[in-house]
Symmetry: C2
Subunit: 288 residues, 2 copies
């Protein structure tokens, strides 16, 4: 059991993003109110939106791409294109890179986050998406696997039904759109609080963000996270953890973690990444 000699460094409060990034916990409503998808559509410019759908995480990218193409077309987007990146060299395709120039919204589907990263990381296409998000030129949304990849550190896979431990989660490197966070999805639906705690124990300089199904953590450029949707967004904040046995315990032994802070947030709640405070904006926050 090691006493931490100093507090873990705070996650940077200066998000690199200059436009909204939406981490969706999977299984977002695609039929009725479509609250989250409608929010993405609106943020991307509404009827002026030009949207790129990246279905690369899916094993059926044709099907998955068509689903979102139909939805955003039906909503009235000015343009929707499915970017069929199913081989790494597609991420160098000049035509896709040219198309991306005019995009106002990029939507990454669900599937397998390892596959998504393997296809996209370090490609010119991904570099351009990241640059456009950081420069405020495009709204980015990712659902399920598409949300898992947003941080620098990514949960590749993991288990449940165990106390937090080092073997409960497999980490990998994500796409680093918002490096400061580790995003988990299908969160309470698949009982993933223990695995997110395990991930944060490994990386106590990051902030854990657990997003439920049909729920979105909407990162604003000004450092606010807004919660939209039916479930909860859980913030796992390790900044005040005083002691952890992470580096001195066996892989499957239960972890000790003292003084972890947890915020369980629902629709309309808001977390301020600058002040590390939560507040409710239920009265002010528009539902779409």
């Amino acid at each position: 059991m090691l006493q931490l000699t100093s507090q873990p460094s705070e996650p940077s409060t200066l998000l690199p993003i200059k436009s909204a990034v939406m981490a969706i916990g999977g299984a977002e409503d695609k039929v009725r109110g479509r609250q989250i998808l409608q929010t993405f559509f609106n943020r991307a410019g509404g009827e002026e939106a030009i949207i790129a759908v990246i279905p690369s995480a899916s094993r059926e990218p044709d099907v998955m791409g068509q689903v979102y193409l139909d939805i955003f077309t039906e909503m009235g987007a000015k343009g929707v294109e499915v970017m069929m990146v199913t081989e790494r060299h597609h991420g160098e395709d000049d035509q896709l890179l040219t198309s991306l120039e005019d995009c106002t919204g990029v939507f990454m589907s669900g599937g397998d986050q390892i596959r998504l990263c393997a296809l996209l990381e370090d490609t010119p296409l991904m570099e351009k998406v990241r640059a456009k998000v950081w420069q405020g030129e495009v709204v980015l949304a990712g659902t399920s696997a598409g949300a898992a990849v947003l941080g620098h550190h990514m949960i590749a896979s993991g288990g449940s039904g165990e106390a937090p431990n080092r073997a409960l989660v497999d980490m990998a490197i994500g796409l680093g759109i918002i490096p400061e966070v580790i995003v988990d999805q299908h969160f309470y639906n698949r009982n993933r609080l223990a695995r997110l705690i395990s991930a944060i124990a490994a990386h106590p300089d990051r902030l854990g963000i657990g997003v439920d199904e049909d729920t979105c953590a909407l990162f604003e450029a000004d450092g606010l996270i807004q919660v939209i949707g039916k479930g909860a967004v859980t913030i796992v904040d390790p900044r005040h953890v005083t002691c952890s046995n992470y580096n001195s315990t066996g892989m499957t032994d239960p972890l000790s973690l003292y003084n972890l802070k947890l915020h369980v947030l629902s629709h309309g709640d808001c977390y301020d990444l600058h002040k590390h405070e939560v507040h409710s904006q239920k009265a002010e926050f528009p539902s779409v």
Copy 2:
């Protein structure tokens, strides 16, 4: 969303108990090291121990009683008696009350906590057990259902796979041995963190104690909780919660809870109920 006008009252730091109370998370090792059962046996007096086993939570109290009778007999207890309380009037039985006089340890088995409470609450037998614990005359252990009943408020049943919400947990009144806490068991094994958070949202003046299988939260008379065993003990501390929508939300809507403190503790860790602090006693704590 209601802002709390004041902090919820702190759980009393003056435990009524004057001897150890062991909250065991179920499925404790009964065969090999028997670390937790051996600790109970030792605390009850070792070879001088006179132990009462109360198997009332079980649907097969004969079988369950015999299991523990055999174990404590094999360990060398001076006396072991199974108290077959299977009807409420058994809790008034003079012979059982007389037997209890000499006991140094009482062990409550697993099963159904509602059944256990229905059979025992407000009986002379239970009053006597509680009085003897509070007077320091007997060590009490409860496993699974036997641990669930220890607080004033008790989790009767609940679900998982959902964000914390009012409908996720059914509360009842427990046996009130340690009124200040709400104990949950089979904790990470059955993904019960969300239901314990839901229970604590309903009773923010209590402290949540989640105990894993083959793990024990050992409450000492001096206000320390020691952790023994293979899993984790999770402390859910709502004393600093600044905002909760508990009283303004629908039964199945996700709860908002800001600033919940969580301590994930493993074998050898220690929580001080007076100071509300955690510290490691790994070096000092004997394994049995």
